[in-house]
Assembly symmetry: D2
Homo-oligomer: 437 residues x 4
Amino acid sequence: MASSISTKLFLGAPDGSARLGSLQSPQMLPSPGLKLPARRSQSRRLEIQAAGSTYGTYFRVTTFGESHGGGVGCVIDGCPPRLPLSEADMQVDLDRRRPGQSRITTPRKETDTCKIASGVADGLTTGSPIKVEVPNTDQRGHDYSEMSLAYRPSHADATYDFKYGVRSIQGGGRSSARETIGRVAAGAVAKKILKQYAGTEILAYVSQVHSVVLPENLVDHESLTLDQIESNIVRCPNPEYAEKMIAAIDAVRVKGDSVGGVVTCIARNVPRGLGSPVFDKLEAELAKAALSLPATKGFEFGSGFAGTFMTGSVHNDVFYMDEHGRIRTKTNRSGGIQGGISNGEIINMRIAFKPTSTISRKQNTVSRDKNDTELIARGRHDPCVVPRAVPMVEAMVALVLVDQLMAQYAQCMLFPINPALQEPLEQRKSEQAQIPL
Amino acid sequence: MASSISTKLFLGAPDGSARLGSLQSPQMLPSPGLKLPARRSQSRRLEIQAAGSTYGTYFRVTTFGESHGGGVGCVIDGCPPRLPLSEADMQVDLDRRRPGQSRITTPRKETDTCKIASGVADGLTTGSPIKVEVPNTDQRGHDYSEMSLAYRPSHADATYDFKYGVRSIQGGGRSSARETIGRVAAGAVAKKILKQYAGTEILAYVSQVHSVVLPENLVDHESLTLDQIESNIVRCPNPEYAEKMIAAIDAVRVKGDSVGGVVTCIARNVPRGLGSPVFDKLEAELAKAALSLPATKGFEFGSGFAGTFMTGSVHNDVFYMDEHGRIRTKTNRSGGIQGGISNGEIINMRIAFKPTSTISRKQNTVSRDKNDTELIARGRHDPCVVPRAVPMVEAMVALVLVDQLMAQYAQCMLFPINPALQEPLEQRKSEQAQIPL
Amino acid sequence: MASSISTKLFLGAPDGSARLGSLQSPQMLPSPGLKLPARRSQSRRLEIQAAGSTYGTYFRVTTFGESHGGGVGCVIDGCPPRLPLSEADMQVDLDRRRPGQSRITTPRKETDTCKIASGVADGLTTGSPIKVEVPNTDQRGHDYSEMSLAYRPSHADATYDFKYGVRSIQGGGRSSARETIGRVAAGAVAKKILKQYAGTEILAYVSQVHSVVLPENLVDHESLTLDQIESNIVRCPNPEYAEKMIAAIDAVRVKGDSVGGVVTCIARNVPRGLGSPVFDKLEAELAKAALSLPATKGFEFGSGFAGTFMTGSVHNDVFYMDEHGRIRTKTNRSGGIQGGISNGEIINMRIAFKPTSTISRKQNTVSRDKNDTELIARGRHDPCVVPRAVPMVEAMVALVLVDQLMAQYAQCMLFPINPALQEPLEQRKSEQAQIPL
Amino acid sequence: MASSISTKLFLGAPDGSARLGSLQSPQMLPSPGLKLPARRSQSRRLEIQAAGSTYGTYFRVTTFGESHGGGVGCVIDGCPPRLPLSEADMQVDLDRRRPGQSRITTPRKETDTCKIASGVADGLTTGSPIKVEVPNTDQRGHDYSEMSLAYRPSHADATYDFKYGVRSIQGGGRSSARETIGRVAAGAVAKKILKQYAGTEILAYVSQVHSVVLPENLVDHESLTLDQIESNIVRCPNPEYAEKMIAAIDAVRVKGDSVGGVVTCIARNVPRGLGSPVFDKLEAELAKAALSLPATKGFEFGSGFAGTFMTGSVHNDVFYMDEHGRIRTKTNRSGGIQGGISNGEIINMRIAFKPTSTISRKQNTVSRDKNDTELIARGRHDPCVVPRAVPMVEAMVALVLVDQLMAQYAQCMLFPINPALQEPLEQRKSEQAQIPL
């Protein structure tokens, strides 16, 4: 009979569960709190090994791989040809993202060395897809064996099961922070295009860790440099607050706990006119890009949530003519975006990251077999994600801006510009010809 | 000679500007602060009359029209066939959105009566595109004549010019709140599908106006009803705070000023499994949808920015088995979404709206001719946008959820579900069969 | 009980059919061959009134409307700003498409006068969506009343019912040729951009009607002009064969029958480099665009099906350097496209159109109630669609090329070109500066 | 000065060409007809190593890799979870596609052994992306060294240079037939879903080689089997004509020449209702998919170009009720598609393939340095592509149908069907429950 056959094949019937072997039989159910030894062979049978997706319309990035497969990376489709590019361009940001870089990140060891597998010849992009690969070198799958039986609180284990109806992976699979390697590599290419084309610079830094909040007036967005940000392991450009943040992380780290924080990101020298008026407003694209990063809980730009406490007469950004004859705003509560379109001022935004879900303390939860259980995660984890989230945020912002730049170029630069109202997209390139590319 | 011809056509040359007529000649420049009479014939020549775009992959909405054309509306592509639908289904939400509904909204008078122009026959959707039209009835274009010469602070006037290189419209065109009529109409269809299919309910309300902040514990998201929200003109379900909020709006209204605020939105009975693991996480889609609304400055869900102040051991949502044998979480700091996928708990989010940019006070600005000027807006405006933003937020959330529902249905429901891990998407439909459709 | 309620609402149950009224009851079934009088009020209840969709990624066209609603048209999203545009630019092609233009087209009378409703100001495109509307003036719905009960052979009546499960429209709705008005209007804009930008010209003509086949050597694609094509009512540039074709159409027209034919289309001065290497090859996009037109059965380009009879040594196009130092091919069996990318030679293609399905002869069929019946269509129809298909084909080819031009511009022109291998996209513009735009 | 710096970087200036090294200097220009030895190190420097892209909206395939890199493959995004899948499912079709399978294909030796790298666990798809890899084992790059200097006639060498402005790859890169491995692997998954879900079968065969044309009446599409097609090396189900076709290929093979041909493809048991009414008609999608395959020149379905010679009264497909109470057509000139939507009859189509461009004969051409030259290709090649194109065509048709199936499922099956007009998509599944999956 057809239906029973099909049922068996799709696990929908009692017989279907039998196919999964003895795991679901009563004698195999984990006792609450029981710490099982690593059963490598079995856990392999249960793995879900992937999940990949695509960002962008013009400059299109597909990431692939997961924390426990052979490696991770990305394919970049639509990159302009003839851009000078090498692994070194990407490695800088990959090194800022990699685990084990300091005592306040996960001790997991990975070199995260990238290789350009296609799309670059003779040091120049060819216009065809760029494939970047990073092998996984530290694969201690047994660290996660217990988790394969218990839903880790505030992780994706349970929702993957709810969605796909298949027993899920140890280690988080595609929801792992390791997936972001592909994003950071692609973001480095996007950053290079933006800098090359228009002198655009994207810089993120940590502005809050737990209750340590960096006062806004301590950072000058006009003069902020990468060196200032990279001068300490927490990536806060103010040394005094950096110390406080590091101390806050150390405090929870020794207790096996974790804390949240905020990353601030700015984009300087963004060409005017990027974004579009209705559903695809520039701030909407940035919000989506930011909240596609793991562990994010919120996004604000310009005056943000604080702006809701103002009156319009205070909040509005007054226009004026600057000394170069450019239309500028005196304040920047608009955050560089008005009506969904960039206005040439600095774009600024803040992204909230929750405390890392993986902690070393005992937690109550339920197993995949729907029994109450306890869990002590033994996987290595970041006590606070924000120091490593800094290059991820920069990457996502760069991917949004380069996609919008290409959109603007295709539509509005096809014919000669109208200099009475527009300025060349690449106007300020000359100002920084001296910047090494 | 070719180049000069082409140059003239595209306004890129001195001659090009001449084609625009006398507007740019010195004698036509507006004196600072000069209040010009309505020059209807001329302002028409300067109008940009549109900007439309599309949201969604499966349930796809294109809005059209602007504040000063013949009307606005939307085309809904991909709506399931055989859904009972009439204008009344949409009019409810359009009435919640329309101007002039109370003293704390703009006095602009519009009935916003919608008409289904295609896609419904005999009271049922046909599966082909649904076109909804709402005529503009109150078109006082002269209210905006002065603005056509001056960049209104924190509006889209300047950025439209920067982007397109064409003199822009009075009234804001596609960036007008009037464009959201199409979204609200489409959102009403999406809400009906969600309720019909899975008993999903989407409710938004005002949780902050200026410095009046509704304490979270005063609203029970499990039992919140539309009637509670609609019981007062500011759409705050707590009567006491509603009064305070109304007073706060009245206080700035009489001064010609404006205030910002926050809209909270929940989605109840959302099927598990909606969303996807990487770039298109459910929270990322919601953030984009929310920040595509005019005047928004921030988005957070679950614990949001406040969650950054917690430790992981406090923040994590503990799993347990409820009395119906369903896997639940004891707390909901995840906001109903884990790893980008809905987990069946209530989805909650907060969206920040800035104070309305249009105010009746004199403001310094520059004209499109790059001269300093003053501006006193005489257009009618909302002293606070959040009461009318409530149905807009609900609509955008509904558009996201129905699109994700269809995505989940196409991918993961094609074959029989695995009841050991999944539950039917429409599980709870029966619970509310009594709800009139 | 929930399920029965939902069942009734979605027509899935016996009761559901009852909701449709008396139509399905036995006494209402049409007798075979019975010619029912126009029952306007009832047929209205049965109408499906729409179906709309979108073509293009960069230059994006959505058509709306159907043969029996208030009108038809399109929304063009992504059009470059500052392009001179007026209704006259579109009306030329709409007049070539409209019914009633000669004795060999349907006698249905429509002026098909278009109106630009938004997106153009002061004679220039604004960059925001262009909405073009054409009202329906000749709506004799009663002509189709009988068809609402019988599936017209080789029409879309049956498949719409199969797909959507709702009783379908008289007149064909969105599958009507009337839907193509929006395509022709948008195509006229695309043609103007292509001509303006790169001197590209797109010309289609009738090369076969029934058994009258125009020998290829009688048309010189290098010198072919629009005037030659428009010199007769069948749109064949050779007067002698035009006469034969007209006679062939007249022969079936008087018998109430119809014939098929072939439209040949060329694109001259297409910039090199359009298209992409894998799934989105230029020929693949052209094939899709062509076969999205009603009544098409086949597409070939370059040597086409005839090329399958050749050997490689004969078929290959030999490269040579021309007198201007450009790399050219001596023959053009590649049809201007190699490896999915335009090579600068003339792009040529042939599209097969079946004989019109609507004929005035009695045909056997089945009714929507699944009874055998006979049908005599009394709607007016084209005895041969190809003369009116000519501007439709040109429009679809233009939509493909402008979308690909913008794609190429966004990706490969962002940085200065490499003149050793590339040439400017707009290179030949100067050659035809004298062409009135 | 900025511009000169940027110019150097992007090869746009005289200096830029110097960066490419001595290749462009006069003494390095190849003499006409000169046969250079393989200069491996240099040719490597000149390689363009990729080009990848994506097909599908719901079931989305991205292919990667090229003929001379480490390998090829695909990522399948959106595959339904819980489908039984193993490498063996794909290997069958990969073996039908691989080179060296018989004397009438290229002698290049590749085993084309595939490996599922992610997306399948415990023999079932997980719902997350499936990555399939096939290593390249036969890489004789030196076969192509000469070609890197001369544009091979009717290949993509020249157009890649025109498009990207970078010196291109030996071996064709992404335009190589090797890229189709990823398509065939993904197509095998699509075929399995279609068969599993609805009993749909897709079968292609060779119906013409050079002047050997298989008469249509010699193949019965109702009873055609895979075994009949695979019974000979040319994949023509009629043994007599298969012999003639093989002889025709042998005849050109020994002369170093090539011939073209036609592949016919049918899809049986396609659910009714697939496709959509306007731009995305089912036939339009099939045409695009078919013409995205290398070497294709034309596509027709149903009556095709031959149908243009008929009258409507002969061409129309008469509806009738069959013995099972289903609405059927007596003839099938519509090719199973009416109004862009499948009607349940067999979908049939014919695809024209040109004679292979690579031949072993001497050909005149120009070099990349724009000098006249001669070329004798020494790469191994297929004397006729159609025997190996058979599984490629099946794969592309399967990708179209599964994407449309998921689209139809998401839109029109969300609510209970209307059995008066619709039938379940999976209706005929039971008929073949006995088919091993």
